[in-house]
């Protein structure tokens, strides 16, 4: 029986059709969304000419401004908190000798990736409601903490990968040359870990910026973020303003993801990129 020497899925019958369908399903809606954000008319389906009016209208919309600022505050705080926690978690899981319950800890760090988001959302809703009743505090910290929690695994992954790829001898050389553990961390480990930390922080930022489910459940009245604001808008009149906001979010996400890719790609830290 004649067999091609190596199996190549690309040569299987029907593969190109399936692949093209997938790509169309993935990208056509996004392309349409972006295109109609420049529509001169009020419709998100009928093209009436090019205009930037919906960007201007979104920019001038106070609710959008408000939600944007809130989104950025939450994403910034959450990514800083999640990244710090992720650095510590990654150090603990790569630098200390394997301890009992190691895999349990590992699973717990990655819990947000495995438990359905809606479950976490409901759980947080109930939990925070209890705290709100007990303390009376209804500020932004509930959202920041909730976002921090589900961002940790995303920040953790690139940092851990970077730590595992690092030469342990370097840290020992640092200790051998009179560096206390903290100074070795500051002068040897962190400078080399930096691309991983940055990548983790950016990933966390994007994930936080993008979240709907948990935010919708945890937020108090008047605490819309951009995604929940858009969700609210969709229930009323849909105008290309939503397209415009989505396009901006898309641009930010794509930019951060590209930066993330470049950071994790560069295998070795560049010479002299610290000091």
């Amino acid at each position: 029986m004649a067999r091609s020497r190596s199996f190549d899925v690309r040569r299987q019958a029907g593969f190109p059709a399936v692949a093209i369908t997938c790509f169309i399903l993935l990208y056509l809606p996004i392309i349409l969304l972006v295109v109609y954000s420049f529509n001169a008319g009020k419709s998100i389906a009928i093209w009436e000419g090019f205009s930037l009016q919906w960007y201007v209208s979104a920019w001038e919309n106070e609710k959008v401004q408000d939600a944007t600022i809130r989104s950025l505050i939450i994403a910034t705080c959450a990514s800083v908190i999640a990244t710090s926690a992720a650095v510590m978690a990654a150090l603990a899981t790569t630098r200390s000798p394997k301890f009992k319950g190691y895999s349990v800890v590992f699973a717990m760090i990655n819990q947000p990736l495995m438990i359905p988001e809606i479950v976490t959302a409901v759980a947080l809703l109930i939990f925070f409601a209890m705290i709100k009743v007990a303390t009376g505090y209804t500020g932004l910290w509930y959202l920041i903490l909730a976002h921090s929690a589900f961002c940790i695994p995303f920040a953790y992954m690139p940092i851990r990968a970077r730590l595992q790829g690092m030469d342990l001898n370097l840290e020992q050389a640092g200790a051998d040359l009179y560096g206390t553990p903290w100074r070795v961390f500051r002068r040897i480990t962190l400078p080399q870990l930096w691309p991983g930390v940055l990548a983790g922080a950016m990933l966390a930022f994007v994930i936080s910026l993008d979240d709907v489910v948990i935010t919708e459940f945890v937020k108090s009245a008047g605490q819309d973020t951009l995604p929940t604001y858009m969700l609210g808008q969709l229930r009323r009149v849909i105008t290309p303003e939503v397209n415009a906001i989505s396009t901006v979010l898309l641009a930010i996400s794509v930019a951060l993801v590209i930066a993330f890719y470049l950071l994790t790609k560069s295998g070795k830290p560049k010479q002299g990129d610290v000091q």
């Binding site: 001898n169 020992q172 050389a173 640092g174 200790a175 051998d176 040359l177 010479q271 002299g272 000091q275």
Partner: protein
């Protein structure tokens, strides 16, 4: 200087326990070039890392200049290491690498600058001071690693097979350079290698290790000429082993009777007592090839020409093989041919009675 007593290190527990060092005792003297020599996996690195503070021994004691250092972490021990893979910091320049130890000791900036300059000079790396460590050759990296470890003026410098990654010629150069650095700085060097020639040419004293134990400690000549155990004799250079009978011992002189019936005086480690079967080690170049009727007779099996010398493989009458090595003279005519009946002899005091 360094006093190590009954040091034992066991990795793991229970069925997986592995003893990497067992009851190691050694004294390393001030300003000495001390070498740990042994096959792969014998515990050399473990011993070195214990001195540096990266390995917690299971039991035993260690003092440095009389002070117990086992409880101190690596960063307070006045000991620096040249790591096998150099472990240069990739995000720092050559000069920053060399200055790192001084910086961690919080020495004044001016002093750091001056010492780094001196160190660069010492290892002849001044022109490359501001290069990234990835932009210099292997031999240069090795010298930077050396300068980095020497800069804080440690009491002891530990070197873990620092030359093993270098090619032959560079290796020879670095061997000479290391010896020069050691005598210029007056620092005690503890050097790890599994290369017996390197150990013999560079060391003041050698500790031969096997399976986590130190078998013999002594100067190169003593180790080579008077190996105490079969392993040491075998590991360093080539050796012939002869089964013999111990007749009498007087201090370090032992009368032994060879299977041929002849007796010869040999050396034995002091304290060796009694009679019985022993093994006598004789170096090929310490033995002589003679006509039959010598100390032991046999048949010439093979002649191998090596340029500087010739090896004669003799099948002894008892059934053992024996190699005699003779230095070649210009245009000498080979007196023997394969198959000849020959004799082997060696002078009194040349043979060494082994411990086992």
């Amino acid at each position: 200087m360094i006093e190590i007593q009954n040091l034992t290190k066991t990795f793991g527990t229970g069925a997986e326990a592995f003893t990497a060092l067992s009851e190691v005792s050694v004294t390393i003297r001030q300003n000495e070039f001390f070498t740990l020599l042994g096959p792969s996996g014998c515990g050399k690195t473990t011993l070195l890392r214990t001195i540096a503070g990266f390995v917690d021994p299971t039991s035993g004691t260690m003092t440095l200049d009389g002070a117990d250092v086992l409880a101190s972490p690596p960063y307070v021990r006045p000991v620096n290491t040249v790591f096998q893979n150099y472990a240069l910091f990739p995000h720092m320049t050559v000069a920053e690498n060399i200055g790192f130890g001084l910086e961690m000791q919080d020495r004044p900036k001016a002093e750091i600058k001056q010492t780094v300059g001196e160190m660069l000079e010492l290892v002849q790396m001044t022109p490359l001071a501001n290069r990234a460590t990835s932009e210099i050759s292997g031999g240069q990296q090795q010298r930077v690693a050396l300068a980095r470890a020497l800069a804080p003026r440690p009491k002891v410098l530990l070197l873990d097979e620092p030359l093993s990654a270098l090619d032959f010629k560079l290796r020879k150069e670095m061997q000479i350079e290391l010896k020069r650095l050691q005598s210029e700085t007056g620092i005690t060097f503890v050097f790890v290698t599994h290369d017996q020639e390197e150990a013999l040419t560079m060391s003041d004293r050698i500790a031969v290790m096997n399976e986590g134990q130190i078998l013999q400690i002594g100067g190169p000549k003593e180790i080579y000429d008077h190996p105490a155990e079969r392993f040491v004799a075998d590991f360093i250079g080539e050796t012939n082993f002869l089964e013999a009978e111990l007749v009498s011992v007087d201090g370090e002189v032992a009368e032994t009777r060879l299977p041929s019936g002849k007796t010869i005086s040999t050396r034995a480690a002091s304290g060796r007592a009694g009679a019985g079967k022993v093994t006598v080690a004789v170096r090929p170049e310490h033995a002589l090839l003679e006509p039959p009727g010598a100390l032991i007779d046999g048949k010439l099996e093979n002649i191998v020409y090596f340029g500087t010398d010739t090896h004669y493989h003799v099948m002894l009458d008892g059934g053992a093989r024996f190699v005699v090595r003779r230095q070649n003279q210009p245009d000498a005519v080979e007196a023997y041919t394969i198959g000849d009946a020959v004799g082997v002899s060696f002078n009194p005091g040349v043979g060494q009675v082994l411990r086992d």
